[in-house]
């Protein structure tokens, strides 16, 4: 690409005032010597001046506030999603710890009542497995019921 073609590419930007100082000086030097580019530059200048005279469209009232509120809400929602992942891992571990920690208490406080109901239940491992299964099956049933209810609510919304 020769000098003339390069400068022609820059004329619109020069008219818009979007060039660096060295580029502006280069364009000015070329225009001084080239009648074709001078005419094109003047066209661009009148177009840019016309565009500057056009009324600037105003954004609807409250758009900035709405966008800011929306962005803040989205950031909060993303933060909450990350936080929820950590909390859920903690809660699952906590749930299992609670299951294991509450078993000796249930056994101790029941004062052998479990063994009275069923002698085989007194064996720690059988009892623990039965107790854990009962607790998590209850949780699973509750989760399924809630999920069904939520789906129904969404359908009605």
């Amino acid at each position: 690409m020769n000098e003339h073609a390069e400068i022609r590419e820059l004329l619109s930007l020069a008219a818009a005032g979007a060039l660096r100082r060295e580029e502006e000086e280069r364009v000015a030097r070329h225009i001084h010597e080239c009648a074709e580019c001078t005419a094109e530059f003047e066209n661009w200048q009148s177009l840019a001046a016309g565009l500057r005279r056009l009324p600037t469209p105003q954004p609807p009232a409250g758009l900035v506030e709405r966008t800011r509120a929306r962005t803040a809400w989205q950031l909060a929602a993303e933060g909450e999603q990350r936080w929820n992942h950590g909390v859920l891992i903690f809660l699952v571990l906590f749930g299992w710890t609670l299951t294991l920690a509450s078993w000796p208490v249930v056994r101790l406080v029941s004062g052998g009542l479990l063994g009275w109901l069923d002698p085989g239940f007194e064996h720690t491992w059988i009892g623990l497995v039965g107790y854990t299964a009962l607790v998590w099956v209850t949780g699973g049933v509750a989760a399924a019921m809630l999920a069904l209810r939520r789906r129904r609510e969404r359908r009605l919304a």
Partner: protein
């Protein structure tokens, strides 16, 4: 850590009081059972083990009470059915109710840019002042999500540049 403190502040004072009472009550009960009880396993346990047993295990119950308090306050601020969720968190054993709550809870309400009222997620307009808080379908005025080509409620074709944001 600051987020953790922020969330901890949501737990109501009553939950802290109940948590401490439950902790002290269970710790006392387990302390008594482990010292004067006749359980063969516990009687063989060294004194340090008994102290750990009596003081350590109730910590989990204390934490559970705080979590239930959190569920109550958090569900309330999100406009959810807080009584139902508190009961579920309380009666489904081993914190499974709390896990379910965290899986199914609604997003936090957004603040109205005009009157600062908290508006439930999914509302297109503020119920107090009528200011638009979400992008809405130009036909049925219900909140729609970015990227939707058609309104999910009335089927109206949404503009490519984004649905109507018309102010009230």
């Amino acid at each position: 850590m600051s987020r953790f403190r922020e969330e901890l502040r949501i737990v109501p004072r009553n939950a802290w009081i109940v948590g401490w009472l439950v902790y002290l009550g269970l710790a006392t009960l387990l302390g008594l059972v482990s010292t004067v009880g006749h359980d063969p396993g516990l009687s063989k346990m060294p004194a340090v083990g008994k102290v750990f047993f009596a003081a350590g295990i109730p910590i989990f119950l204390f934490m559970l009470v705080l979590l239930i308090g959190y569920v109550y306050a958090d569900a309330k601020r999100r406009g959810m059915r807080y009584v139902m969720w508190t009961l579920l968190a309380t009666f489904i054993p081993d914190a499974i109710g709390v896990i379910l709550y965290f899986l199914l809870r609604d997003p936090l309400p957004t603040s109205c840019p005009r009157c600062s009222t908290l508006v439930k997620h999914g509302f297109a307009y503020c119920p107090q002042c009528g200011a638009p808080v979400e992008i809405a379908c130009p036909q049925c005025r219900r909140a729609v999500e970015r990227g939707w080509q058609n309104c999910a409620y009335c089927g109206t074709k949404l503009p490519i540049s984004g649905p109507s944001q018309s102010a009230a």
